[in-house]
Symmetry: C2
Subunit: 267 residues, 2 copies
């Protein structure tokens, strides 16, 4: 399979429009490439592409690609607002857990809004039950327990944040753009992992990475056993976004990578 | 005043992600620049910018600009979905008619969704009542009657689609990105006008430009008396998007212009 990183930054992108932090300022000055908001696309044949999340930057991320379906890892706006920008499609196939679907329908209301424009076929995703995404490509969702605030108030827990495990003849890839702790997902050849924050106190001592539903990189690195690990969903404040930062060197010295928009992984 | 065209295309942009019409194909091949979705920003001092509509492309349109407020011409998603992408702001000042506000609150639901992230100060806009947007810059909204479908079903008519007339010491600019007919808006030095479609039957004989709430360019041109007229909100199928099209030459032969992203008008 081929997995293309469509967007490697967290919500707001890098640089973030209204942010003048050290990292955003440096990125504006060229210390790292600009990055769009978190999403990947997976294909076997470069004809049909499966989107994982629909970021608000989806238009420029997919121009020229045929979207076969969208799979969601949660219902956060930075992963779902792009669904509204796919409304010009005649129909959309949407894979999501019942919890995510309910949040989109009764919580944020994005699903009923989208349905005023196009047909949406919801394909329920059951945790731990593999399904064929397309002949030759098997997909399985796993739960990512989180204490992150249930912003849209539909009071669901299981399946609110998930990761996906994708297997074809070439190997297994795991996509996990949001993780407060490392869930059990079995062996894989390549792990695309939540790299929102490098340290837990990166934003402040009181509003930590963990409070915001993210396991900081310094804490995830020691537990990772995947042959290839690439950090995605990187917050605009995270110094690994800078090509020459000490934090980037730490990641690379541990044999891991920092995603860029357009990066392709082939298994 | 300075008015910058942030986005010159209609909803979906040019080229549109899933469109392979003659014009989109030609734009992909370089026959015209890509264009983002419809919005302008107005400033007196290049420090504070007033956005007219918040397009889904707002992030890349405003990076580096300070947004003083957003004014809305209607509640369509291509003019309002970008509000969700401004949620990282601490507070947003939003100028809109009661009809547009009600549509955002009770119809599309974007306003309550945005309010879960940041404070929104709604400043009601009364039709035909000039107000100071900032010292030295006066603004006035005028109604644009439309038979366009009330997609969000709040059953309002007056103030559902409006244009804005902006006056400072340098002159008067009118922004009218949606118009099914030409309303009365008085004299102006520069008119930024709905150029969605060149001909009424551009998409098909049954789904006309007028049905979709837009006055075709061939019908608006003869009535326009502004010293400078620039077409904005151009649909991805409109051949004026191509630098060398016969339709572009017709517009230019009539002394009018086709907007590009980044174009600045100084009065």
């Amino acid at each position: 399979m081929i997995a293309r990183v469509l967007g490697s930054a967290a919500g707001g992108g890098s640089p973030q429009w209204n942010c003048h932090c050290t990292v955003c300022t440096a990125v504006r000055a060229g210390a790292g490439p600009p990055r769009t908001q978190s999403s990947i696309a997976v294909t076997l044949d470069r004809d049909d592409w499966f989107l994982f999340n629909a970021s608000p930057d989806v238009h420029r991320q997919i121009d020229g690609l045929t979207v076969a379906a969208v799979l969601l890892t949660d219902a956060e706006l930075d992963h779902t607002a792009g669904l509204l920008l796919l409304r010009e499609a005649r129909a959309l196939r949407l894979y999501a857990t019942a919890a995510i679907q309910r949040t989109l329908r009764d919580g944020s209301g994005l699903l009923p809004l989208l349905e005023r424009y196009c047909t949406v076929e919801w394909i329920p995703v059951e945790l731990g039950v593999p399904f064929p995404l397309t002949p030759g490509l098997t997909c399985e969702a796993f739960d990512v327990p989180t204490t992150k605030k249930d912003r849209f108030g539909v009071n669901v827990s299981e399946g609110r944040v998930v990761g996906y495990r994708l297997t074809d003849a070439g190997g297994t890839l795991v996509y996990l753009p949001g993780a407060q702790s490392l869930p059990e997902f079995g062996p894989c050849d390549c792990l695309l992992l939540d790299g929102s924050f490098f340290r837990d106190d990166e934003l402040s001592a009181t509003r930590t990475a963990r409070d915001m539903g993210h396991l900081p990189i310094v804490d995830s690195m020691p537990s990772i056993k995947a042959p290839r690990t690439i950090f995605v969903h990187i917050n605009n404040t995270n110094p690994i976004l800078l090509d020459d930062s000490p934090e980037r060197r730490v990641v690379e010295a541990n044999g891991m990578e920092v995603a860029m928009d357009g990066l392709e992984v082939e298994l």
